[in-house]
Symmetry: C2
Subunit: 145 residues, 2 copies
DNA sequence: GTATATGCAAAATCTTTGCACCGCC
DNA sequence: GGCGGTGCAAAGATTTTGCATATAC
């Protein structure tokens, strides 16, 4: 079920990207990480491993990986976040923890049940996201240290 | 059904905002406008009427009006957009034209039908938006000039 | 009259671009 | 060896902040 770093890299190779150390590390990071990450968080993580790393390289790689469909992008009120594209090949939506940005999948798609679209409206895409607190974060919030 | 400029202003007064000429104009603009507007678009519109208008005033007013619930904010891939809050007092979602940003309402709420949330997950809010082309924009795209 | 709103300027973010050098294939 | 990737610097774009002046109440 889980996407591995190798699968991410294979996909990048298939699309003609060169595999640098940095990109291997990025693949590994996103393969392990269950949460959606901001470019800044990725930069900070990578910066620890690659002294002298520049912001623009991180941005470029995130953008490229998104364009190649390896990463998914979430546009949230507190900024843009990335996570690995779900390997699941059926259509699905996401549940996102507002505290730790962990994400889960929902199989249910509301489009099947929608009626009453405006006359002549051509649907191109849709967004359905559920926000809240995951079990861990909810517990932590109920019992503050 | 449609929210009027007066209603917007009354709400702002109720919340303790002073009603300046600019804010009257903003209320009028959003009352008339069926589309979601970027801060930049609002600035350009207002700038024509108020020479010497500054960007920060527009931002401040948009933010204030959003905080007061007079405006709704959409976080889209191509930027933040605002439109007047729907007067409808029942829960609903939006259909948005990707070309002209016109918006419509959908009454259907997918949360009623969702099952299989992760164990212990506390839902706080959700987003359900349908994107596509409205009848006019779809027609224009099919028959380019 | 007083508190709030505005305009101006500047700063803080976030993101992109151009270019020379380096490294994957 | 050649093309694509990276680092550096700089520019853009967007949004925020501080303060003096103007204005609604």
């Amino acid at each position: 079920m889980k996407v591995t770093a190798e699968e991410i890299i294979q996909e990048m190779v298939k699309q003609g990207m060169r595999i640098t150390d940095q990109r291997k590390t990025l693949a590994g990071l996103f393969a392990e990480e269950g949460s959606a990450l901001t470019p800044k968080a990725v930069y900070e993580y990578m910066g620890r491993l690659y002294p002298g790393l520049s912001f623009d390289t991180v941005y470029r790689n995130l953008r490229l990986m998104h364009e190649m469909g390896v990463l998914e992008q979430f546009v949230l009120e507190d900024g843009i976040k990335f996570r690995v594209s779900c390997g699941e090949n059926h259509h699905h939506h996401h549940i996102i923890c507002m505290n730790c940005d962990k994400t889960y999948s929902v199989t249910y798609c509301p489009m099947d049940a929608v009626s009453g679209l405006p006359e002549g409206f051509q649907v191109v895409k849709h967004k359905f996201e559920i926000y809240g607190l995951c079990e861990d974060c909810a517990a932590r919030r109920d019992t503050p240290s």
